[in-house]
C-alpha cells in the first residue's frame, strides 16, 4: 500500500534495508554519480509518435510483443529459474574463488541488489501478462555463459555485463512504458555500481605483474562478447522498438556509446582496448 512517499510498504522495507547496508565501498554507484551523470544521454534521432502506456492499459499487439521480448532478454525476474541459476553461479564463485573477505561481502551485496531487481521486474511482468511472471527464459546470449575460472573473469563479467544493463536502463528513462521508465533510474544506478565493483576488482588484480598479465589475456575473451551483447547493427526489430518508444537508439549507436565508455576505463587500467572487430560474432 502506498503511504504518500511514492513507495509501497514493501519497497520502503527494502529501501531501509539497503540504506543500512551502505558503508565502506558499497554501493559503488555513489562515487560514480557524485559528479553528475556518468552515462551518456541516448537521444533518439528519428521522428516518432509520443506513446505512453501504463500498467493495466490495453497495449497494441506489436508493442506488447516487443516489450515482452525485451523483458525476456533482460531476464532479472523472480519467477525466472534461469536468472536464479545465474545468481547461484555468482554465489558459487564467491564461495570458491573469493580473494578476500571484503570481496566476498561485496559480492553478497551485489546478489542482494540483483534480487531486488528481480522483485521489481516481477511486478512489471505480473502487470503485463500473468503467465510471463513464471516463465523460465535461459539467457540466450553467450556472454552470460562464458566460463568464469578466476576472480578476474568474474570481475570482467561484472564490469562488462552489468554495464550493458546500465546502458539499457539508461535508455529506459525515456521509455513509453511508464512502469519501466519509473524504475529505470534505480536499475541504471545499481547496474552501474555493479560494473564499478568489477572495475574495482580489476584494479586490485592488475596491481601485480601476474595479475596484470592474466587480466590482459582474459580481456581478449570478454571484450568481443561485451560488444556482441548489443546485437547485430542491422537488427530488423530495432526500428520497431524505437518507433514504439521502447528504445531511443539502435544497436550500433548504443554499442558505440558503450565502447567509448569502456575503452576510456580500460585505458585508465593501463590496457589498450582490443580490436573491436576481432573475435566478434554479431556485427
Amino acid at each position: 500500500m502506498a503511504d504518500g512517499s511514492g513507495l509501497s510498504g514493501e519497497m520502503r522495507v527494502i529501501e531501509d534495508a539497503e540504506r543500512r547496508g551502505r558503508g565502506g565501498r558499497w554501493p559503488f554507484w555513489r562515487p560514480a554519480y557524485a559528479h553528475g551523470d556518468p552515462l551518456p544521454k541516448l537521444t533518439c534521432q528519428v521522428s516518432r509518435p509520443a506513446y505512453r502506456f501504463d500498467e493495466g492499459e490495453p497495449l497494441p499487439d506489436e508493442y506488447k510483443e516487443l516489450l515482452i521480448k525485451m523483458l525476456r532478454h533482460e531476464g532479472e525476474r523472480a519467477g525466472n529459474k534461469s536468472f536464479l541459476g545465474l545468481m547461484a553461479t555468482c554465489l558459487d564463485i564467491a564461495e570458491a574463488l573469493f580473494p578476500t573477505a571484503e570481496a566476498k561481502l561485496l559480492k553478497a551485496e551485489y546478489l542482494a541488489e540483483e534480487l531486488k531487481h528481480a522483485i521489481m521486474f516481477h511486478r512489471i511482468a505480473v502487470g503485463l501478462q500473468h503467465d510471463f511472471a513464471l516463465r523460465d527464459v535461459p539467457y540466450a546470449h553467450y556472454a552470460f555463459h562464458l566460463p568464469r575460472e578466476t576472480w578476474a573473469d568474474d570481475a570482467y563479467f561484472h564490469f562488462f555485463v552489468d554495464l550493458n544493463g546500465a546502458f539499457h536502463a539508461r535508455d529506459w528513462r525515456e521509455s513509453s512504458y511508464i512502469p519501466l521508465a519509473k524504475m529505470s533510474a534505480t536499475v541504471e544506478r545499481d547496474e552501474l555500481g555493479h560494473s564499478e565493483m568489477g572495475y574495482h576488482f580489476l584494479h586490485e588484480i592488475v596491481s601485480d605483474r601476474r595479475g596484470r598479465e592474466l587480466a590482459r589475456r582474459l580481456l581478449l575473451k570478454w571484450y568481443p562478447a561485451a560488444l556482441d551483447m548489443f546485437g547485430r547493427s542491422d537488427s530488423r526489430n530495432a526500428p520497431k522498438f524505437i518507433q514504439w518508444g521502447l528504445k531511443s537508439v539502435g544497436n550500433a549507436e548504443i554499442r558505440q556509446a558503450y565502447k567509448t565508455y569502456v575503452d576510456r576505463k580500460l585505458v585508465a587500467l593501463g590496457f589498450e582496448p582490443p580490436d573491436e572487430r576481432a573475435n566478434r560474432r554479431f556485427l
Binding site: Y142, L146, E149
Partner: protein, 96 residues
C-alpha cells in the same frame, strides 16, 4: 544444448577439468579439478558451437603457468604432458 555440453566437456577434459552435473536449474555447470575435485569455475550451456574448444586452447598458457586452474597444480601438469616446450615457455613468460 546436449551437443554444446558435450563440446564443453571434451574441451575441458584436455586440460584436466571435469564438467560437473548441471547446477541450479540446468543452464550452468561447475568446473571441477580432475585431480582433486575442487571447484575451479563455472560455465553455461549457451556457448556457440566451437567456442569451448577455442577458449580452452587460448588459455593453455594460463593453465601452464598456474594463472588459471587448481592450486593443486593438476591443470599445469596436464598441459605439461600435452606440450612440454610450450609449457616451459609459458612458465618462463609468466614467471611461474
Amino acid at each position: 544444448m546436449d551437443a554444446i555440453v558435450e563440446e564443453i566437456r571434451r574441451a575441458y577434459a584436455t586440460v584436466g577439468i571435469t564438467l560437473d552435473a548441471p547446477a541450479a536449474y540446468g543452464t550452468y555447470y561447475r568446473l571441477l579439478c580432475a585431480g582433486c575435485g575442487r571447484m575451479v569455475g563455472n560455465v553455461g550451456d549457451h556457448l556457440l558451437p566451437g567456442m569451448a574448444a577455442e577458449l580452452v586452447a587460448e588459455q593453455f598458457e594460463l593453465y601452464a603457468s598456474g594463472l588459471l586452474g587448481c592450486p593443486c597444480g593438476h591443470q599445469s601438469q596436464t598441459t605439461r604432458q600435452l606440450d612440454t616446450p610450450r609449457w616451459q615457455a609459458a612458465r618462463q613468460r609468466f614467471d611461474a
